[in-house]
């Protein structure tokens, strides 16, 4: 299972511990995480389920390419970091 780690700054609003979750894409992995933590979903994804404009995701050190569909593939050993983008200030 991939490991998802959330920015510490999100913890002030909603608890998001590092979580192992199954899936072949970032979308599938995050869907699995948010199924158990639905409140966190809206802090990371926008109304259209795309990555929020000022959020960033790194998969094994590389920035997410598909911010709309989150179709970037992952492996069972992947590390997914959900971060704040510096564009947000």
């Amino acid at each position: 299972m991939a490991r998802v780690v959330f920015t510490p700054n999100l913890q002030r609003h909603v608890a998001c511990p590092a979580t192992d979750a199954p899936g072949r894409t970032v979308r599938e992995v995050l869907d699995a995480v948010f199924a158990g933590n639905p409140q966190a979903r809206g802090y990371v994804l926008d109304d259209q389920a795309a990555l929020r404009r000022h959020m960033a995701i790194f998969v094994d050190g590389a920035p997410l390419r598909d911010r709309a569909r989150l179709s970037d593939t992952v492996t069972d050993d992947s590390q997914i970091y959900v971060m704040q983008a510096l564009s947000g200030g």
Partner: protein, 369 residues
């Protein structure tokens, strides 16, 4: 008069209380450091709502009962955008179906417990029937083809900033859009119209100048005791209606300026209203560095300039749409500015007292009944 004032700011929500000596002071700070775009205390059930804009993490809505603990409830969210459909504004710019800001929040009528209306950027009107536990986008307004003619005013996308529920009939709701005119429903949101005369958009070409859908009403308010009386602080003037918004009359020769964002109307005397003037368009600072409030008592025929207790040199305060408020008695006023100044008046604006000059930028002031 009200003894409590809520002040939503760029860096928190402040509760101010008035003591027996008529002195106001901050009694509580909530959401310190967070951007609070709107606040509402619903007098029907004593619930308070605070809209937060977390930037990276999006917009959220919190509520509490009385003085109880805050809890996050649902924020209005747009439904999935149809595949392949591109939404654009009047200038051809793309509009994403995402909540950018909670810009207006008002309770429904006295006969509609738990019902809330919320206006948002990019232009969607939402309704909750359960105190914010869930929200529905008002599709008949969102889906009107006329929405394609809306455009941003101050923001990149259009937004609904004013919602007036008619106290005589809760099904009658008026929503004002920057920039997209004033829309009215008489059946609780099923059908909407934007049809009136007399409002003028100086920033549009001649063919569109009197188009109702192109008007930039910066703020719309309705007199609670005489609901056919409406006031608008418009981008290029002050307008008044005495027939429920069918016909509007532009107020002439308003000094020092007829530009501004905010307007408040007396709760019973429909001819009395207050404004906070500034230099239009791009400068947006008080005329001559003198911060004043203007008041009419005769339905906009004449205006007084009120300055006692307000800074009269090197003042650069700007007062946004939701930052001028009159309480239920019609006697007490509050004004909050972008530079964090807060004033109150106990006498309809004849005199003012500064509560603070160093709050964060103020987004909304509300008296609590």
């Amino acid at each position: 008069m009200s003894n409590r004032l809520l002040v939503a700011t760029r860096k928190g929500l402040f509760t101010l209380d008035r003591d027996n000596s008529n002195l106001w002071s901050i009694s509580k700070t909530d959401f310190a450091g967070d951007n609070v775009s709107m606040v509402l205390t619903d007098a029907r059930d004593n619930r308070t709502y605070a809209a937060l804009d977390h930037g990276h993490f999006g917009v959220k809505l919190h509520r509490r009962q009385g003085t109880g603990a805050w809890e996050e409830c649902a924020a209005p969210a747009y439904p999935p955008q149809p595949e392949g459909q591109t939404d654009t504004d009047a200038m051809g710019r793309t509009i994403a179906w995402n909540t950018v800001k909670l810009w207006a929040l008002e309770p429904g009528g006295a006969d509609q417990p738990g019902l809330l209306w919320c206006g948002t950027l990019p232009g969607g009107l939402f309704r909750s029937r359960d105190n914010g536990t869930s929200w529905e986008l008002i599709r008949p307004l969102w889906d009107t083809p006329k929405r394609k003619e809306w455009m941003g005013g101050g923001y990149d996308v259009p937004g609904i900033h004013s919602i007036c529920v008619d106290p005589r009939d809760s099904r009658v709701v008026r929503a004002a859009v920057s920039v997209g005119g004033i829309w009215t429903t008489r059946d609780g949101g099923e059908t909407w119209s934007c049809n009136y005369e007399g409002m003028r958009a100086a920033y549009m070409p001649p063919e569109k100048m009197y188009d109702p859908n192109s008007q930039d009403a910066h703020r719309l308010v309705q007199c609670a005791g005489a609901p056919d009386a409406l006031w608008v602080q418009h981008h290029n003037g002050i307008f008044h209606s005495t027939d429920g918004g069918s016909r509007w009359r532009e107020c002439k020769d308003v000094k020092p300026s007829d530009f501004g964002f905010a307007v408040a109307v007396h709760p019973r005397n429909a001819k009395t209203a207050w404004f906070v003037p500034a230099i239009k368009d791009e400068h947006r600072i008080p005329v001559g560095g003198k911060f004043v409030v203007t008041r009419t008592r005769d339905g906009g025929e004449t205006f007084e300039t009120l300055s006692r207790g307000l800074p009269q040199q090197h003042a650069y305060d700007l007062v946004y749409r939701h930052c001028l408020e009159v309480d239920g008695t019609g006697e007490q006023l509050a004004v909050g500015s972008t530079t964090g100044s807060l004033w109150v008046s106990p006498d309809q604006g004849d005199s003012w007292t500064a509560i603070s000059y160093h709050l964060p930028p103020i987004h909304c002031v509300r008296f609590v009944a």
